[in-house]
Symmetry: C2
Subunit: 211 residues, 2 copies
Amino acid sequence: MVTTPDRRVRRTRRALLDALLALMADKPFDAITVADVIDRADVGRSTFYNHYTDKAGLLADGLAAFRAAVEQPACGPAAGRLLPHSLNVFSHVHAHQPLARALFAGPAGAPVLHQAQAVLADVVRADLPSDPHEMLAVPTEALVGFVTGAYLSLLRWWLDSDTGNTPQEVDRMFRALVVPGVRAAARPAVAPHAGAARTASGGTGAATARA
Amino acid sequence: MVTTPDRRVRRTRRALLDALLALMADKPFDAITVADVIDRADVGRSTFYNHYTDKAGLLADGLAAFRAAVEQPACGPAAGRLLPHSLNVFSHVHAHQPLARALFAGPAGAPVLHQAQAVLADVVRADLPSDPHEMLAVPTEALVGFVTGAYLSLLRWWLDSDTGNTPQEVDRMFRALVVPGVRAAARPAVAPHAGAARTASGGTGAATARA
DNA sequence: CCGATTATGGACACGCTGTTCAGAAACAGC
DNA sequence: GCTGTTTCTGAACAGCGTGTCCATAATCGG
């Protein structure tokens, strides 16, 4: 069960997924027809529907692989940090470029983006301190959305731009942009009367005494 | 041309757009058929194609309205701030809820999201200091993507959650999350030679947190 | 080598798209 | 109110993508 026994099955599925990913580099997912996929994969139409009920079913296979890769425990040096999986995300995207490129870069298409976003959101939710006070300056779910959006935007920029940045460099940019805001949001809400105007002029908080 | 002369035309177009927006509250854009729209709008099929070549054409009308509303000069008190249009965005979203809800909340669909995102990205690009040094810690386009993503995530959260937050409150959250990161990113890049060797350990110069 | 599983091509009904056209309805101006 | 113009309407049409079915051929594991 873990590994499909029959070689034909593995061969067919791999061919279909590869074809889909290759096509996703050009067209958005919704514009790709089953005919396109089986044509490029050299697979009969009936065969496709023997394995998947849908285009989406095929894509789900790819997404599951991505999720499994990203969710494994954070690498060594990032243990105690604020968003421990960040480098993990960028590293695995780097390692699985064709899949990641199909998921995040170019014209993604609605279902793809939605699902890929959900994977990232789960990672973020697990990485964020589980709202100990529940009285933050920004509600937890909004925070999750913010961080997820930052992942998405950085990934898109990275995969679309031709600059050959390393995962480490992108991770550094990501953290520079996100961490200060998360720290600010994780503080208990500012007093609504006294310090309302203060937020605009807030220093970049070089040292947030977290003791 | 500014105002379509014939009343029938205005009536028809308005009915079609309203129908589309209403339907977008339930289904993603791609799942809505022309038949759905004209059925709800009580309009003949030929009539639809007399005005628009496409579902997308109809939506474009809505997007143009949104863009026009958001791009007008920033309101008074936000003059000299870092992202002067931020409150503008949230205020106009609040004022045009049905449209905004269709564009940002719920299952949006690929073309909608892409275009709405482009509108926001243009606003952000105009709001960001036009890279005076060009040697920032984060490339300008990545920064634009980051801020745009933050807009999107906050808007989605706001429109999806039932908490009746005011535009001002959401704007405050937005700025608390985004401004510190933008300030950090807008600093000239860390000295490339001195500190570059230990890049692998991550952490920007400013925010190396020790747990 | 053989029985079981999988791949294949072709045909089918269905739904959505975008176009065309002749006639009915609503409009603006006098 | 009348008239010429513009717009709406319903129905029909070809084209394409979807998902299903089935008998047959190819490939697998043992």
